[in-house]
Point group: C2
Chain length 262, copies 2
Amino acid sequence: MSETSREKPRAGGGDMRRGLELLWGGHGPGRRGPKQRHSTEEVVLTAIAFADAEGVAALSMRRVADALGVSPMSLYTYVPSRDELVGLMLDRVLGETAAPPPETAGWREALTFIARERWRLAERHPWILDLMGRRPPLGPNLVGNHEVAMRALDGTPLDDLTKDYALDTMQNYLIGAMKEARDAREAERESGLTDEQWFKLAEPALMDLLDPARFPRVLRLGEAFRAAGWGAADPEYKFEFGLSLVLDGIEALIRRAEAAAG
Amino acid sequence: MSETSREKPRAGGGDMRRGLELLWGGHGPGRRGPKQRHSTEEVVLTAIAFADAEGVAALSMRRVADALGVSPMSLYTYVPSRDELVGLMLDRVLGETAAPPPETAGWREALTFIARERWRLAERHPWILDLMGRRPPLGPNLVGNHEVAMRALDGTPLDDLTKDYALDTMQNYLIGAMKEARDAREAERESGLTDEQWFKLAEPALMDLLDPARFPRVLRLGEAFRAAGWGAADPEYKFEFGLSLVLDGIEALIRRAEAAAG
DNA sequence: CGAAACTCCGTACCTTGTAAAGTGTTTTGT
DNA sequence: ACAAAACACTTTACAAGGTACGGAGTTTCG
């Protein structure tokens, strides 16, 4: 069983017309043949359950079909392809972060709120991190989330384009940090070793290889981590650190815009 | 042909002992059987050529073996598994960014230099972006790159741990931005449509679906992009924007550390 | 010289997405 | 009421993938 990415992560290719229709729920009535035994939603939910339990990698048409008690091929009457199914799964799950930040919050609190919501979403559905590429499925929930994020910046003097860039920067950072956390969790579950235990295990082998003259800073860093104890490598701590760093960057941007506006 | 990630991106699982030995080149001589017709390096280079041309997804043991003129199974005498091969490929390629920033540069210029080096590396070997997870292959080049990045922050008052966190934040952002750019390039190549053309194509369908009352800001954003023309969505431009935003965040961090140190 | 260690190969298993074609069911048009 | 169209669903089949297994041949060590 290979462990490496074998297909490009993408979501939302294909017909675009059919895709958007599926996403926005516009499949008119009046079909002719026999009724479907299940619904597209049921298929999507079943698939999400699988992905939650074992990741998108483990999700196969056959297994979903099995779980629904139908033959593999009949899934293709609900969904045009596996990719399209994954797109539907993603937008479905993005709906869980519908809650907007409190109206009273300033932009910084609002973005922090949103970032933490996304963090928790990725904890519940880690597989979404594999699907956040370009040309995502432009479903109602993806669009809704962006609307909410843009609103968080309403009180700032940034123009719309700059707001979008800033949010994009934050999102790029978030994805990286969430992936880091997820991979740590997964590696821990699969190997039975915490990052710390793993590091302690790899350390002696590394010490033989690392030339102190070539890599003095990395070696010092190893010591610093050892001295600081477990907490120092905790993904959630690092997430909050990086988040506030990025928000500081946005703050600088805003201050510059304020200065320019006089 | 599916387009979605079917396996978890990881690099560096496995035996750890054997893996590190392979990475650091310590495979002693004095073997008994017949000489190998090729070398591990040759295998790795061939695999890299494939990945450059068609991505990690398209890289299969069979195809690499074919290119070398051996049977698929004999590759396993050079490399214990496909995953380990991918780990070797990654560290090999990371060696291309060996060039350190000029000594005279301040931390900001140095980090900018490094970030751009990484950007260019990802242009040459886009597939590395699928492999930047936790527990990467701790090869000489990964470690070397981190050493160089840490050195860029030598002149700052940050402690080692904080330097590491800051670099990690930057790297997380970088990965996201580079992925964005890569996916745009790929989608363009595969569909024959620029992002712009694609957006223009999807737009009319979206306009029917987007309720101006629910998504006013997103709709305004669409207009802003249209008004700004091509340049506004250019990944390289966005990359530079986000990079300087993150660097502003690091600058705030440094100033706070300076203030605390008095 | 024998045995061990090694390389390399052919075969085989299992899993995947989905194309193709067939069967049966419901609705539509007349 | 009846034929035809549209649909749901199934079986079968293909090509690709990683790699376990066992065998055949080659080199080196004791």
